[in-house]
């Protein structure tokens, strides 16, 4: 047994922010369990990532390296990490809960007769792992009962990226055995969906609309409010899925991440996928008919009420206040 391994992911050639958050979660777990903390990087040329990771306060950094890992595939990553974990036999493996991890970590766990405890937002003594249920309306506490390693993935924003101090770690290389024939899918080059003409990330104020608006015909209500405030209009995923607003106005894990001075959420219940895209906003206002909607957990101001009454009244009140 060799402690807690955190698998870091790269973004544009650097260790991604959510990976540092995962490392912070790994550090918390290692401290609770009295284990050593290690980091692993995966790819075809991992030296720059390993260098970044080894400058943190971890015991070891492993470079899991193979030419066939140049571009991410589930088959390649699962095979490589399976061999690595079989040789290291760690107690815990921590991943950031990214789309990439969601694509292979469940299969990796199943290959070891284990289960990934996914999208963890907190770690308590035991350890028990907290994760959201029912779209954020409830929180469940999970415990690992298997004999093998316990695999968890950590939700973006749940741990502080800067929590791990600087250090100097030993770097080792692990060369997995992978045959080209094991990689069954052929991934293409990533591409952007459409030309991004709306930069929500730099908007000081955002009025965002969700399912509560009911019909596309009702959108002018929020457009008028956005107009009165001088705010950008944004939406949660279902609105863009329905084609009521373009995808580029979507806030959340599959859209843009924003942190404006004011985020006004209208008829948005606050599913996790939306919250990760906006919970860093300086001031969050929520208007929703459901007093139990999870959006109120992150809101600074809340109005429980019918948006079809509150929004027009608010537009008028804002116009009056601006005078």
């Amino acid at each position: 047994m060799s402690g807690v391994w955190v698998v870091l992911e790269d973004r544009d050639g650097r260790v991604s922010r959510v990976s540092w958050e995962a490392l912070a979660a790994g550090q918390a777990l290692a401290a609770k369990a009295g284990l050593a903390l290690h980091a692993a990087v995966v790819g075809a040329a991992t030296e720059p990532l390993a260098k970044e990771a080894s400058a943190k306060s971890v015991a070891k950094v492993a470079r899991i390296e193979h030419a066939l890992l140049e571009r991410y595939t589930s088959d390649g990553y699962t095979a490589a990490l399976h061999q690595f974990l079989a040789s290291e036999k760690p107690e815990y493996v921590v991943f950031p809960h990214t789309y990439q991890v969601r694509d292979f970590a469940p299969a990796l766990a199943a290959r070891m007769n284990e289960v990934l405890i996914s999208d963890v937002v907190g770690i308590d003594d035991g350890p028990t792992f907290k994760r959201q249920l029912m779209q954020g309306r409830l929180v469940g506490s999970y415990r690992h009962a298997g004999d093998g390693p316990c695999l968890i993935s950590v939700q973006a924003g749940a741990f502080r990226a800067g929590a791990v101090e600087a250090g100097s770690a030993e770097v080792t290389t692990f060369a997995p055995t992978i045959e080209a024939s094991q990689i069954r899918t052929k991934p293409g080059e990533p591409f952007r969906g459409s030309a991004q003409t709306v930069d929500l990330a730099s908007a000081p104020m955002i009025v965002s609309v969700g399912r509560g608006i009911k019909e596309a015909e009702n959108l002018p209500l929020v457009e008028e409010l956005a107009g009165a405030l001088g705010a950008e209009l944004a939406a949660s995923r279902p609105i863009c899925d329905n084609g009521w607003l373009p995808m580029e106005r979507q806030v959340g894990s599959s859209g843009q991440t924003v942190s404006p001075k004011l985020y006004l959420a209208i008829g948005i219940s606050g599913a996790i996928q939306h919250l990760v895209g906006m919970k860093g906003s300086q001031c969050i206002v929520a208007i929703n008919k459901d007093p139990d909607a999870p959006i109120f957990e992150v809101a600074d101001y809340g109005i429980v009420g019918d948006l079809f009454e509150v929004v027009p009244a608010l537009t008028e009140a804002i116009k009056a206040a601006k005078g």
Binding site: E114, S141, V298, E309
Partner: protein, 256 residues
């Protein structure tokens, strides 16, 4: 193409939830149930693939008797037949345990393609499809928005984060997990609802399948979430509340 679509019945999206006496799940008598949203998109993708390429669409769902209504809904939308894995104890299983039951039900059918939603709206593990691929020993792709049949395989459009996408070539047989929003969902027609009544729905008792051992991840208990910020709730009728909020935006938040 023979396509199996694994669908889950989940509490309705806006259901008010109460924690039950065991402290481990919600009071089920309080809630209405519906088809999991991304599973509905998986079903739509399957129906469209069948319309373009021919074949058969089989829906598969595990759960207690009540999931029959969701299965009938899928049949009414156009699925050809259904398999219901009858199980009352799925709450005590983890993602691997449920996927093992589904895999056992799928194996004798030898499908070309298995589709499922990327994540359930209740437990949200987001793993069933990927685990299924591993258990069935076939390739997979996740978070798929668009599927196109090519010569002997599929070309799929996968969603990446922050507005990026990727095309992936996947040989068959395969498992895909479908993201919401790739297609427009159809409604069941009256004719469809009528026809669904006579379609085959085979019930398989979960106990007869080669199911899992003890769960690896166990749920200790559930609780209401803790507030991350202190929220000032603004009271009053719509007009009063709007006026109060505008004032706060002006004098406390200072954005007006």
């Amino acid at each position: 193409m023979k396509i199996i679509v694994a669908i889950k019945q989940v509490p309705e999206r806006d259901a008010q939830v109460r924690i039950d006496g065991s402290g481990k799940w919600i009071e089920e008598s309080d809630v209405q149930y519906a088809m999991n949203e991304s599973d509905a998109y998986a079903l739509e993708e399957a129906l469209q693939l069948k319309e373009k390429n021919g074949g058969e669409v089989i829906v598969l769902s595990a759960g207690p008797e009540r999931v029959g209504t969701t299965i009938r809904e899928a049949l009414a939308k156009g699925a050809d037949r259904a398999i219901h894995v009858d199980a009352d104890d799925l709450g005590g299983k983890d993602a691997l345990g449920v996927a093992q039951l589904l895999a056992e039900a799928i194996k004798p059918e030898n499908p070309d393609l298995v589709l499922t939603g990327l994540q359930s709206d209740d437990l949200g593990y987001g793993q069933t499809g990927v685990i299924l691929a591993e258990l069935l020993n076939v390739p997979h792709a996740s978070l798929i928005l668009h599927v196109e049949k090519t010569g002997d395989g599929l070309k799929v459009k996968r969603e990446l984060e922050a507005g990026w996408f990727q095309e992936i070539e996947v040989p068959l047989p395969a498992v895909l997990t479908i993201q919401s929003g790739g297609n427009k969902l159809r409604y069941a027609t009256l004719m469809g609802i009528k026809k669904a009544k006579s379609k085959e729905m085979r019930v398989v008792n979960a106990a007869e399948l080669n199911g899992a051992g003890a769960p690896v991840a166990t749920l200790d208990g559930i609780a209401l979430p803790q507030k991350q910020r202190s929220t000032q709730m603004i009271e009053g009728d719509a007009k009063q509340a709007a006026a109060t909020l505008a004032e706060k935006l002006k004098f406390e938040v200072r954005v007006l």
